[in-house]
Symmetry: C2
Subunit: 343 residues, 2 copies
DNA sequence: TATTATCATCGAAACGTTTCGATATTATTA
DNA sequence: TAATAATATCGAAACGTTTCGATGATAATA
């Protein structure tokens, strides 16, 4: 087939060991030899065989990327961009990403991604929530693993999370700066960790700005649905308006929910942002093209994938260190849905 | 490390060759030996080392999946589902999928997915449009390749396509059955192959139903934007309404564009479907939750990924046969946006 | 100058499979 | 019964790397 290290060695007039040393940059090689070999490598565009490397190094060179099929199929391309980031960074380590989806119910170990039991990955990235049993399983197997946007409380593992609390606080501050105080919160289930953090960030900030009464008043909150969705947003806003007809702003737990709110406001012929302001969270790809464009919190998705991969490679290469959590900063993006009245 | 074929052989009291034969199912092995070996394999949950297999077989066991980053990041999760289908089917062949995105401009060969020049894939799936130079490059390299939803006219290659013409014709027939004749067409660029086919399917069907005059009347058509988008739908419908105020229905080239039409109709206080009917194409995940829900053409995305992988494996294993195109049937899905007036 | 440390290169083993012959056994045919 | 064919098993080579230890050459030190 292709050209091998032996061919290169023969042509360059050195041993295969020397060629190997040149490629890896390890050991001692004289400058003249290094150049001589490199010229031949370049000329023949030689690339070492991965399988041979893997065989001798006992590493697969692969990273497994696990995500629930629900998350991946979501329209927001949220996790897709995280995957992209991981792939981007994987190039720097000459690793490949193997993608696998899992359902929300899986048999252990029959139903888990095949690369795990086949030992075809050196580490795992798990993005978003997956069955906890799966996480525990790979943890027990001592496979280096980094969780993204997901935390399993029992097990001590590396994780990359976004600063949900801070994001929510930034939104509240922004709204308060507009002289708004009647601020509601809509979306999903309080028991989802990210949602919980966002809600708590909202509460903290409200208290901080002297709006503790509202932060504690459940009439302002809608957190009873299992899944977030536009419909959830519609129902949530409807519910809040029943109790608080003069609510001035609603913070939605994510952009998807926020679009539902926007639609509902439009359906009752109210105006955003004049009569009510709506904010989302995530800055997914459609949030700039809603009507009006949505104020939201940007979550650097690609960067989260990058960080996760870095963290994982770090763990793979120097296994022993203490587990860490990287909190990725988020940033408020103000758009039309919360601009000041009359501006 | 793990358990090897030698260990299995020793425990079972046979040679490694015999174990190999049992696993692959090739050659002659007596039933008693086969069982004896299989028991040991199962007991120790032995899995052959991929790198060793790859090394000796000179196959990577990987399939490269290439997609433009624009397509992957799109909100509709269209290509994501195709990828999912490919991954699903890859399991049956014990292959892994390596994902790589490409930009719309790439240097050849510096910027191409690294698994190509590293020879880490046995074949390629290219989903959606990518730079033609890339396709020609891999074609020249004689890497087995299947295109999905993309066709490069110069080169003869395997392809999996959806039946765009038929889908458009089904929509027209459906609308004509509702006694509608003033049917417009909106979206994107005529020079995009899929869009062209859909438009031509529309024209063919119109002629077939005696509406050739409309099919030829460009006042009914908006096909001048490079990218499809909700805004494209809005602008398109606006443009058509200027010329044809009493247009009865608009077929959009995809669901994304159709949502823009829906929004525009709502903004001018017309009613869908009473005053104007809107149809999309693709059946992406949000098309059932628009207001009203969108009539569209379902494209079996997962199945397209499955078919592509099957076709590719066929080509890898029996390279010589003639190149083929698989046309995947599509199916009209009637929803609220085109139901009969008064029903 | 003799000894040791550093630098440079190489040969050979090892990684875990598959597969080609070789050999031995059994079944079939002439 | 002898010759051939089919079945069953195995040993060893091969796949293309990396790395350990050996060997020399050169530089630094005593």
């Amino acid at each position: 087939m292709g050209i091998t290290i032996k061919d290169i060695a023969k042509i360059a007039g050195v041993s295969t060991s020397t060629v190997s040393l040149v490629i890896s940059g390890k050991g001692y090689v004289s400058e003249t030899t290094r150049e001589k070999v490199q010229v031949v490598i370049d000329e023949y565009n030689y690339k070492p065989s991965r399988s041979a490397q893997q065989l001798v190094s006992q590493c697969s060179g692969n990273i497994g990327f696990i995500i629930s099929d629900i998350h991946l199929s979501r329209s927001e391309a949220f996790y897709t961009r995280i995957l992209l980031g991981a792939e981007l960074e994987a190039r720097n380590y000459n690793m490949y990403i193997l993608l696998s989806t899992v359902g929300d119910k899986i048999d252990i170990p029959a139903g888990i991604p095949r690369f795990i039991n086949s030992q075809d990955v050196d580490g795992l990235i798990i993005a978003g929530s997956v069955p906890v049993a799966l996480v525990e399983y790979v943890h027990k197997l001592r496979i280096p693993t980094v969780l993204i946007d997901f935390k399993v409380s029992q097990t001590n593992m590396d994780a990359v999370l976004m600063d949900n609390r801070d994001g929510a606080q930034q939104i509240v501050k922004h709204l308060v700066d507009l002289n708004i105080s009647k601020i509601g919160f809509v979306g999903g289930s309080y028991y989802h960790p990210s949602i919980k953090e966002r809600f708590e960030g909202y509460q903290t900030a409200m208290v901080l700005h002297g709006l503790g009464a509202i932060a504690q008043n459940s009439d302002y909150h809608y957190l009873i649905e299992y899944e977030t969705s536009p419909e959830c947003g519609q129902r949530g806003l409807l519910k809040i308006l029943e109790k608080i007809p003069d609510v001035e702003a609603v913070i939605c737990v994510n952009d998807t929910t926020a679009t539902g709110c926007l639609q509902y406001v439009e359906s009752i012929n109210k105006k955003v942002p004049e009569e009510i302001k709506i904010a989302g969270f995530d800055n997914v790809n459609f949030s700039a093209i809603t009507h009006p464009p949505l104020t939201t919190v940007n979550v650097p998705k690609v960067q989260m994938g990058v960080e996760a991969l870095k963290l994982l490679m770090d763990r793979i290469n120097n296994g022993q260190q203490v587990h860490q959590t990287r909190l990725i900063p988020v940033e408020l993006i103000v758009r039309g849905s919360t601009v000041k009245n009359g501006s």
